[in-house]
Assembly symmetry: D2
Homo-oligomer: 354 residues x 4
């Protein structure tokens, strides 16, 4: 309830709305226990509604005749909101942190393909300064005829790679029936772009006790990404990393359009750490370093980069994975840039590997 | 294997590609059992690859150095392709058909809200000429604070509505763990736009013996919709209806941009019936009739329209649901237009209700 | 000035806005002679501004510190607005009408290429039931190496085609320095999609005494199209036809995405006639008829279609121009559909040709 | 195949194309003096065309029946292409350089509003390290009721600002009839986003002897930007700066989506300097610094930033203009970052001011 009656929702009526249209809305608001104040004027009537925000959000007022627009004054998300937190959320997995001045450099192959491929790549990214290892055991692919990942066997290989390098494992969960299986291995559970609005999956990881890396869907607005994060936090899991990975636009020179503006917007809106995947928007490895540097310069708390022992042999995303030497050069640049930005002051490992 | 060696894939090299770059690709193709023919020239070298299409699609050739573009000559989908079928696929559920000259008019509320709401609406759409009843028991919603559907109770109410009206039930499946539950009630299983690339779910309904209504995701290309359909057909289920429901663009005067061009494109590419949802792109009920008529005029085999006993009381999508009287007027227009288009010659019920 | 003080602009402050932020805005509004009413509340403060609409639109209030959003209650366009007109605007050129129940079927080649090509095509479209002839003498082309039109010579050929067929001429103006030249020939001046926001050009045709056909730019919102029309009407020319011709989206199966929803939106917002160009969004001739029929079924007052004596020989847009026989079949369907829609009751010529 | 016999265009036929379809194309190519090689196969026939590239680009082969796709092997632009230049183009105006290791920091108000506003802002940006002064005398505005600029009077004020600060003037040309007027003042002629495909204007500045700053239209592809640059260079003016300023997408949290990936793509494709406007995509001043830093980190040769003596009083773009103190802080960061990137080694003034 508002102290002195400021509206939380404005209902703007069309010029042709009748007195009956207006009273139907006022009546409905009253039914729902919401106070209304009506301003009638020459051009349009505006109704200000004041009451419980959650209740107001659920009221489908734009379905009433005579309504031109419904303007929410209060943001639809709460738990993820910067206002609700005393400071930035810091995610920690096996001693490696992301957020609040710790820069996360997550690297590894698109998919686990075999033991040699994974271990060689894991060693290379660890040596180059990666703070976490990424690789998919379950791969959602556009074509049913493409390589779909090694599944459980891939998870075992990831455990071996972690044992050897000490790097925490970031790996994707694609099906709610595999939650236990993936949680047994993953240090950070990735929810991929295609599943950002798979609400059953979000609820599952919302009940897990592992951090979640939530990727933005290529057609999701920033607000929808925050609402998806709200689904996870509402179930109790406050350990979330948000990841911008490119949106779908008309431009085809790159695979997706990296929405670099999402970084400052998200940093302003939420207390959660924000990272960027430069590999998927680039689509070609020669553009990855520029996008990764841009992400850090824009204020990202980390990047997640695809690296493959031998990119031209990769079974997926071959054109966008970096070779180990390319990654090593980039990693140095990124850590240095993060240190200057203030997002990387504590980037050094918080605990010894192994 | 090609009779006289026409390439199925063209690999266009960059102007700066070296002889080593070219031989690396030829070598890789040879390893994979694919024949290559190299055309070296002044501006660029082009490699034509001939072999097993599935195998070629899986080869990540664009990851090789020196590659400018990889041009597939053969479409990436097969089972859904018009070339593979002797005629249009006709979907039938409880005697009501869609496709091949039968016009499907699927109508009903966005969500099952309560017994009265569902039964009244069902009676109204049946009386107006709907051929199937739609309503969601499980509702994926952007906000975790919004109404999420009645679940199993909603399915029971749908059975009651079917018993009374005789209309087959179209309802959404959102989680692979609910396949059995939803299949027990649904006559046609809807895969919603947010789940178009939920490949686990697609595989499940691919093994079901009920028709599937697959909605295009708002950021999916037409090709990706066809690939998602291919996932279902690959598992054995050939009973598929494709549904265009608006894509996400910069325009905000409507909720989504109805891609009306998808109708003739899909009709040309696939043998599957194509329907249109005019309600979600419209976003406001006053635009729904224009979009529905446009869909039929463009050649759609059916439309799926949101109708609610009392739209202004709806718990979701209130602004876009039609009132029964609005729907009745529209239904008449659509059946008449479909008859003239040749998509509705057999639109009359094939079996008595009840 | 509002009778009882309804705001015409709402300024919603951020939660962190201070009293100083609020008074700075109130002060600025007062300076501009605009009354302000402040509602302070728990979540946010909202300022309602009431005064001269034009003046309010020019006030850049979102530049002030503490402002979250500025919500206009009154639409930014006036002269084009449906509210300002007693009925639909009807455009007439040489006895042929568009709007208010008269269906306009504008057809002809993309560009004037030579005498034979133009005259043959003009005769064919006239015989098939076209009500106006379209063809470009000046062609804006993406590539500087492509055919740019015949220029003044093309205009002369258009006059010859008009003399023979009696069809009024619709042709494009691309440069303000050619206004007199083009006006001497054109019956309807086309402003192409690329020039929708060429404000110097809009002002020129706003002072002309010929009707203007204004095409929507592929990235322009519907509101921006209406604002461009407002530029023309503000200069005095009230003879305007609006044309939807496809917007740029991520989908590439068609050349542009026809925004079919723009038809009902524009019909609701403006009194001006609304037509559709199905050729440019289709990009391929086999999709043109479906889009044209959809346009008429959605309520368009006309269509403008590219037709070429021999499309495969066309110097531009070859893939999307219809052959005369294809157009003849389509024209019959469209006239019939328009008659049924009520947009074509007066489609017959109002005066004899020649 | 011969030294200069590689195809420059591939014509891929549909599976259903007949022998007649193929020979019609071969015949047309022969007529045009282009050699064709036909590969017939199981799935599709492919025709490779070899000849004069300009001629091939003009041939509308996709209009022929049976054609599935036309794949250009050679890029449609030439003069702007990196391959045609021995090194990066460096633009110089009054001793200030952009490109080839010189970082351009262009700053100033959106529009010239009055003498005090311009001079105060000019002094502030000069003191902070700007290398050029930007400000519009002619303002293209979406609304005909908005401030349209001071016109010729604005140009005079710009000359005064230059005399005092020594900064070269970057100002926009919007109408070909004002070429002489604007050229008399401008050191760099800006072609705004709305005029990127105003080909008459491009031809005019292509004949001018001043550098041109060409902004990408919000719906133009990178390739179309390069084609627009080709229009300018084709007329003889090789002094071009390309500017990415955000594209139009579905996301509304920022005004436009800055296509940061355009920076590495353009740097790879062309020898021309590439700069970024962070102000228009940001839309709000608090996001400008992040986007500006991202641009420099991505490899841009400069940025163009809106700065206003008192942003909250600005007559246009008020919400996105930086205050002088904000700009001063940003300018230092950008020069330092550019120096580290190697794009700013020669950023210091090449000549004394005034």
């Amino acid at each position: 309830m508002s102290v002195n009656g400021s509206p939380e929702l404005l209902i703007v009526m069309t010029p042709g709305a009748t007195a009956e249209h207006v009273s139907a809305i006022v009546h409905r608001l009253a039914e729902a226990g919401v106070r209304a104040r009506v301003s009638r004027g020459r051009e349009a009537t505006v109704i200000g509604a004041t009451g419980d925000g959650e209740l107001l959000a659920a009221l489908p007022l734009d379905g009433f005749p005579g309504v031109d627009q419904v303007v929410p004054i209060v943001k639809p998300y709460k738990l993820v909101s910067r206002e609700l937190s005393s400071g930035p959320t810091v995610i920690e997995a096996r001693g490696r942190r992301i957020g609040g001045g710790s820069f996360g450099l997550i690297a590894g192959p698109c998919a686990v393909e075999d033991r040699e491929q994974l271990l060689e790549t894991a060693r290379a990214v660890a040596a180059a300064g990666a703070t976490m290892l990424r690789a998919g055991a379950f791969k959602p692919r556009t074509s049913p005829y493409a390589f779909q990942g090694l599944g459980a066997e891939g998870l075992e290989l990831l455990e071996e790679a972690r044992a050897e390098t000490g790097l925490p494992i970031v790996t994707e969960l694609v099906d709610p029936r595999q939650v236990e299986l993936v949680l047994a291995t993953a240090d950070v559970i990735q929810i991929g772009a295609r599943n950002m609005q798979n609400f059953g999956l979000l609820a599952e990881v919302g009940r897990a006790d592992k951090p979640v890396l939530l990727k933005r869907a290529p057609s999701a607005s920033i607000e929808e990404l925050l609402m998806a994060a709200e689904y996870v936090m509402k179930e109790g899991n406050a350990e979330l990393i948000l990841c911008e990975r490119g949106i779908r636009t008309f431009e085809r020179a790159t695979r997706y359009t990296l929405d670099i503006g999402a970084v400052p917007v998200l940093k302003a809106e939420t207390h959660l750490p924000v990272i960027v995947d430069p590999s998927h928007p680039a689509g070609r490895r020669e553009y990855v370093p520029a996008l990764a540097r841009a992400a850090v310069a824009a204020g990202a708390d980390g990047v997640i980069v695809e690296v493959h022992r031998a990119p031209e042999e990769a079974l997926s995303d071959a054109s966008q994975q970096l070779a180990p030497a390319e990654f090593a050069e980039l990693a140095g640049e990124l850590h240095e840039l993060a240190a200057r930005m203030g997002t990387g002051v504590a980037a050094a490992p918080a605990s010894p590997p192994g």
